[in-house]
């Protein structure tokens, strides 16, 4: 009987759709499904355990009074609620097309004698299961560890009281995560309904990229945002943020568990005073929680309603493989392309590298996702740098503020360094192999040109208004020019050890990446602040020409090293591991 239940069309299709979520080579195209599951599972356990212990260890390290814990823990609760919400929303954003029935699913499944309703229900079940799994995975360990460490010092709290805290933390954080997941679905489906399938196929990649940048930046800025909630007046920007609404639910359900604990007779006068101040702070805030909780309930209801209605409405007809003619790539840049081809890109292989890199980095899902994540990281670092050094017009500008520029383009270039290692379409490499004239250097020059045009220049332009405001137009232009020179040197530096054909060679992840990543991260931040100091000195009485000269010398040295390497090592397409060679995917 049980075996029969596992073989119903609904169950089979649900399992199929669940497996589709794992058909994602954003991590590595080499990883198979079980490897990927193991990596994701291990990552979920280790990261959430590490974060919950590190965020909550302070409650064990010192003696805390109930009033202090009640007030201070508001920041941590906000952090957990927002973390779960953003991570789950990010998962939904990265899955994008797999969240609804795509034309390929319909083409395969429609000819089978399975009712369309079963296909729709199976997809919906798979989407719901993915959301539930992520929401639980992100919040499982924090729901055990955080409440336990929170009341570690309070002997008066019963086991039942602790279990109650565990259950409330789990329920509210999972609900908050589900809210984030549903919000992405609601946004995607509503936009698709409003603009129609043709326009949606055009804007969908940009919507996904923008979502990832916004969510990724929010995630990185979270520790700074979740600070001083008890001391704020309750009407700041956080009151409009969904995690705050769920904090209201949390406190309505569990607020009195800690705040009303009996105080110890052995409190010192200082502890008692601190407890009294914090208890008063918490009491002031407490009156706002029911209102926030009501807002959470209303928003959750609306969000769920919008997500379900738009999802079901869009899914009422299975998509066809070719109902919507694909939009043609825009021709408005044709004149600019002609100018670039005739003036800047005079070599055919350079033109090939330039145009291919431009197309691959924005149109290929994996590459676009990686760049969106890099942009999110850069944006978040820039905001952190900016938050403590916001300039006044015409006032003194700190080196910290100038670091906004290298942090932003630097993060994009690191993302670019990663994407060129990932093949754009492994099976299409044969075209490259046949047409390749071993002019790797010229091809890579074109690829670098694409990085300058599509990543560095937009990053510099994005921050230019800020520096025009802070430095004035003339110095802002000098700053941008130095930034451009610095970015070109950085691009040369990060690519000087790369001796393969970008976007084509099999990606074999570096074995020691996990160990080296923190070192690279540190070097990047130190490098960006060093460069910002250099710019600061140049702009405040030093020599801009001197900076450009130093960068030019660095560039020449890197070019000489690269030229020597190019003579030693030629491009090699056939680098696939044995598993790829067996499948004949490497040729």
């Amino acid at each position: 009987m049980a075996d029969d239940r596992l073989r119903t069309p609904f169950t089979l299709l649900t399992r199929l759709f669940l497996r589709q979520f794992l058909e994602n080579d954003a991590i590595s195209p080499e990883a198979d499904r079980s490897q990927l599951l193991a990596v994701v599972g291990a990552l979920a356990v280790s990261v959430t355990l590490f974060l919950s212990v590190s965020w909550s260890a302070k409650y064990v390290m010192a003696v805390w009074m109930p009033g202090q814990v009640a007030a201070v823990s508001l920041d941590d609760k906000y952090l957990y609620l927002a973390f779960g919400m953003i991570v789950t929303a990010l998962v939904a954003a990265t899955q994008r097309d797999a969240l609804s029935i795509d034309p390929r699913d319909a083409a395969i499944l429609e000819p089978l004698p399975v009712p369309a309703g079963t296909i729709r229900r199976a997809k919906l079940a798979a989407v719901a299961m993915l959301g539930a799994a992520v929401a639980i995975a992100v919040n499982l360990f924090p729901s055990i560890v955080f409440p336990w460490l929170l009341v570690f010092n309070f002997r008066h709290l019963s086991v039942w009281g602790l279990l109650e805290l565990n259950a409330i933390h789990a329920a509210v954080t999972v609900a908050s995560a589900a809210f984030g997941y549903l919000a992405v679905i609601a946004l995607r489906e509503t936009v698709a309904l409003v603009v129609g399938p043709r326009a949606f196929s055009r804007i969908s990649p940009w919507l996904q990229g923008a979502l990832i940048v916004v969510l990724g930046s929010s995630l990185l800025l979270l520790p700074a945002a979740a600070n001083g909630i008890a001391r704020s007046d309750g009407d700041d920007w956080r009151a409009a943020s969904p995690p705050m609404w769920f904090l209201g639910v949390y406190e309505v359900l569990a607020g009195d568990v800690i705040a009303s604990l009996p105080r110890s007779d052995r409190m010192t006068a200082r502890q008692a005073a601190s407890d009294a101040v914090n208890t008063a702070l918490y009491s002031q805030r407490r009156s706002q929680f029911p209102g926030l909780a009501r807002r959470a309930g209303l928003a959750t209801g609306l969000n769920a309603l919008l997500a379900v209605v738009s999802y079901v409405w869009r899914a009422r007809r299975l998509p066809s493989l070719s109902p919507v003619p694909q939009p043609a790539f825009r021709r408005r840049w044709r004149a600019a392309a002609w100018l670039a081809n005739t003036v800047l890109l005079r070599d055919a292989s350079t033109r090939a590298g330039f145009h291919f890199a431009l197309a691959a980095m924005w149109r290929n899902t994996t590459h676009r996702l990686t760049l969106a994540c890099a942009a999110a990281a850069g944006f978040a670092m820039a905001v952190v740098a900016l938050s403590k050094s916001f300039p006044e017009q015409g006032g003194e500008v700190s080196a910290r503020l100038l670091a906004v520029q290298p942090l932003l383009y630097g993060a994009l270039l690191v993302g670019f360094r990663h994407i060129i290692r990932v093949p754009a379409e492994l099976r299409a490499n044969w075209g490259f192999q046949l047409a390749w004239a071993e002019r790797g250097d010229a091809f890579v020059t074109g690829v670098k040109g694409a990085a300058v045009l599509a990543l560095i220049v937009p990053a510099l332009l994005a921050v230019l208004p800020l520096f025009v405001f802070a430095l004035g137009p003339q110095r802002a232009m000098l700053h941008a020019a130095m930034g451009l020179a610095g970015a070109i040197v950085m691009l040369e530096a990060i690519l000087h050890t790369y001796d393969k054909v970008p976007f084509t060679c099999t990606y074999v992840p570096s074995e020691n990446m996990k160990a080296l990543a923190p070192i690279f991260g540190l070097v990047f931040i130190v490098g960006a602040s060093w460069f910002a100091r250099m710019q600061h000195t140049a702009l405040h009485g030093g020599s801009v020409i001197g900076v450009v000269l130093v960068l030019s010398v660095m560039f020449v040295i890197l070019r000489v090293i690269a030229a020597r390497r190019a003579r030693l090592s030629l491009v090699d397409f056939d680098e696939a591991p044995a598993s790829y060679q067996r499948l004949d995917l490497n040729t």
């Binding site: 081809n341 055919a348 033109r351 075209g431 004239a437």
Partner: protein, 258 residues
């Protein structure tokens, strides 16, 4: 224009022999049909000749030199149309042809003109700026054929090029093969469509289970096998089972009660 010589080519995958001792010479202006049933080793041979796959033993010579001595130089002379038209789905047809043409260092003005003409002649003008992801298999195949002919190759390998093509394009392809041969190109035409091979090829190599079982002109093969058609020759050389009996068995199997 030079000769292409496949010299005792063999290929093993994980110890399993796929091609064994294939040996033939392809001369300028000649069209050799490479025939065989599914899984007989046609594509593997074609890929070895194109230099995309290294033979386990044997070698390919072009103009008296092993192609692996100067693979890039050989590929400048080669046009290859694979059976599966794998392309970059995020590029448009025009962009893909531009990529290939630029990698082959064709001057920009000539390249632009050739691409426009190829797209026009293949009826792809309307879809030229759409992503290849939206192309049908036949449209992709037309792009692959255009890419293979952009640089005026001396040797052209067609590996089952008719897959997905409509009737008029298939007819055009037959004429194209003959026209290219008349202009001195050496052509290897791998297929299992006997009628096409019979019409366009001067000579036929029949491969079965990785081994060459016949290598001669179509007329001589017909005479040798006392058959009036290439289909008859092929049946005698390759088809071991009785097709009618096999078809009956398949129909019986399908009719078995669920």
């Amino acid at each position: 224009m030079r000769d292409l010589h496949a010299h005792r080519l063999s290929k093993y995958f994980s110890g399993v022999r796929v091609v064994k001792d294939v040996d033939f010479t392809l001369r300028p202006g000649e069209v050799i049909g490479y025939l065989g049933p599914n899984g007989s080793g046609k594509t593997t041979t074609a890929r070895m000749i194109a230099g995309l796959l290294e033979p386990s033993s044997g070698f390919v010579e072009y103009g008296g030199r092993p192609i692996h001595d100067d693979l890039v130089g050989f590929r400048r002379e080669l046009g290859y149309i694979p059976e599966e038209p794998y392309l970059y789905p995020f590029l448009s047809g025009t962009e893909y042809l531009q990529l290939v043409g630029r990698l082959r260092e064709i001057p920009e003005t000539l390249l632009t003109m050739k691409i426009e003409r190829f797209l026009d002649l293949f009826g792809l003008r309307a879809a030229a700026d759409q992503s290849i992801a939206s192309y049908s298999k036949g449209m992709r195949q037309k792009i692959v054929i255009s890419a293979a002919l952009l640089h005026d190759p001396s040797v052209v390998i067609f590996d089952e090029p008719e897959t997905g093509l409509d009737v008029s394009t298939t007819l055009m392809l037959r004429h194209l093969v003959r026209t290219l041969a008349a202009r001195g190109k050496a052509i290897l035409y791998s297929s299992h469509i006997l009628e096409v091979v019979e019409r366009v090829c001067d000579k036929v190599i029949v491969i079965h289970r990785g081994e060459v079982v016949a290598d001669d002109s179509i007329a001589r093969l017909r005479a040798l096998m006392s058959s009036t058609s290439l289909e008859g020759v092929f049946s005698q050389l390759v088809i071991r089972e009785d097709p009618e009996a096999l078809a009956r068995e398949l129909a019986d199997l399908s009719a078995m009660a669920i």
